[in-house]
Amino acid sequence: MATEKNVYHIGKPFAAMDDDVMRPIEAFPTKLWWGAFSLSALAALIGVWTIIYSFVVGLGIFAINNPVGWGFFIVNFVFWVGIGHAGTLISAILYLFRQKWRTSINRAAEAMTIFAVIVAAIFPLIHVGRPWFVYWLFPYPNERGPLWSNFRSPLLWDLFAISTYFSVSLIFWYMGLIPDFATLRDRFERFKAKSKVGNFLLQVKGITYRALALGWVGSAKTWHHYEKMVMLLSALATPLVLSVHTIVSFDFATSVIPGWHATIFPPYFVAGAIYSGFAMVMTLMIITREVFKLKEYITMKHLENMAIVILVTGMMVSFAYTVEFVMAAYSASHIEQYAFINRLKGPFAWAFWIMFTCNVVSPHFMWFKKLRTNIKVLFVISIVVNIGMWFERFVIVIISLHRDYLPSSWDSYDPTWADYAVTVGAFGIFFTLFLMFIRTIPSIALAEVKADEANAALSQSHGAAGGH
């Protein structure tokens, strides 16, 4: 305990912590922020324009064809849903396991979850072809028969899984934010601008934070309920981490396509999701701590812990790849066996080898303390892992679909400009949302960091009796 306390101890007065964490919100953004924001907003605009264009002219602008009916849409969908998982793992599972290091990264990681799920949800929305009828998926009494949704379909389970995941993550995140919004509200009360316009903007911001804080005054009686709520929401979000990607994998595993019809899919997808999610958290945390001078809060130790999670989940993913090949070899089904030979030697073998290099080889650099405590190495590896995980989904979706049973129904898949545009657009939307988040919402869970500091000090002065 004592050593752990020292590692994550910030040891600053609370008022100074407020200043550190709120600085990105209260100060005018830096040039670096504007540069990053314009770049990602441009990418987002390209994506949004393509999506609207596809609504006007139809899905023909994309490369999806008869055997490869899922194409880039589902590759991107699975990729982005997976990214979200690390946020929930950090905010919920690590909370239940009393992992202190989660405190200063959980806010940003949860924000990442929410934005990733928003981005993921765009893809099935385009893919249904007539997004204006998407509400038909919900089982409400209607005038069309009533025409109910099919509760036996994994695609409908997915709808429920993703909607629940998004809503629970969002309310968990917002409830966690209320005390910090109250801190912001009380800080904005003190600010005065020089110009009339400046004062008006300050007032608008102040009123917004006042409304978002819901009249929070930090009453112990409210904290008492609130603490219970955090514990319960963590307990409720924990099965979601495991269930969401499990249900996404059911979309594949319940079909009869060779290479998909495998019982290993749920754990394989969950491990992959946590792997790619931690890589994305790593990328974002490195950027956040460098750009916003939060090195005291997001320390090398945090990054090192995440590197170890990447190493472990990376090996789990590698193990799953191996099992897939072994099971195919052992199955005595030549169609199943061909599906895997086609991954190694087929027309898309390059995608398989990119995936293999990025996902199986690159995490092993994390065995070495020198490398996993080097920011540049971590940054590069985190991006490499995400490239690998994107190609993993490419391998699963495209390679399995383009050649299934009868050679007469085989075809190829050749992504069009529109496929690339929505893929780039997805990254644009994600980073735009994240950059706006950093500027408007406290990116470190201030009340939780303070609680760790205060309670560590209390138990030090009182001995063990001061605790709970």
Binding site: F151, A161, G215, A220, H225, E227, A454, H468
Partner: protein, 183 residues
């Protein structure tokens, strides 16, 4: 056994600090002692205000165990049962269709949807319960003492018959900054 009055007190304990005295501290350890002393002095209306949750404060104040978990459980169970009933109504009564030769009411395939519904409504019940029991939502509310959302730990003593000297006596020996709340 729990009486109804006790349950009510456990549920709706929050009070607005609109009268009485506020004592502010810089150190949470002093607040813990102050809360204990206030409880021992038999003050009925009192509350603490802190920028972060303080371990042991609920015990020092003598707060009843929170009822939130019970409400979470009710929300989850209700949603689970209603969801199962709704799917039964849809698939077995309102529009029965045979899929793959399975029974109309093929419950194993409802498990994922039920699971998600249960979690969703348990979470919503929990959050609504915190908003209601913690009396959140009154956005015009002012902090009772400046700094309690930053670095000040404060205690409010609100019994009607208390005077400033009573409060000073209760909190004697602690470095408190005592102020009266003028209604």
């Amino acid at each position: 056994m729990l009486s109804i009055a006790e349950i009510k007190r456990g549920l709706f304990s929050y009070e607005e600090a609109s009268r009485g005295f506020i004592a502010s501290f810089k150190d949470p350890a002093h607040l813990l002692k102050a809360a204990e002393k206030t409880k021992q002095a038999n003050v009925k209306s009192f509350d603490c205000y802190t920028p972060c949750p303080i371990h042991g404060l609920d015990h020092a104040m003598g707060l009843h165990r929170s009822w939130i978990p019970a409400l979470t459980f009710v929300g989850g169970i209700l949603a689970g049962m209603l969801g199962l009933g709704y799917m039964y109504f849809i698939d077995a009564i309102n529009w029965p269709i045979v899929y793959g030769g399975k029974p109309f009411f093929a419950w194993p395939s409802y498990v994922p949807v039920l699971f998600e519904l249960t979690i969703y409504f348990a979470a919503v019940f929990t959050v609504v319960a915190v908003l209601v029991l913690g009396k959140l939502g009154k956005i015009s509310r002012k902090v009772p003492a400046p700094g309690v959302t930053s670095d000040i730990f404060a205690i409010w003593l609100g019994d009607a018959n208390l005077t400033k000297s009573d409060v000073e006596r209760i909190l004697s020996g602690l470095p408190a900054e005592i102020q009266e709340i003028k209604p």
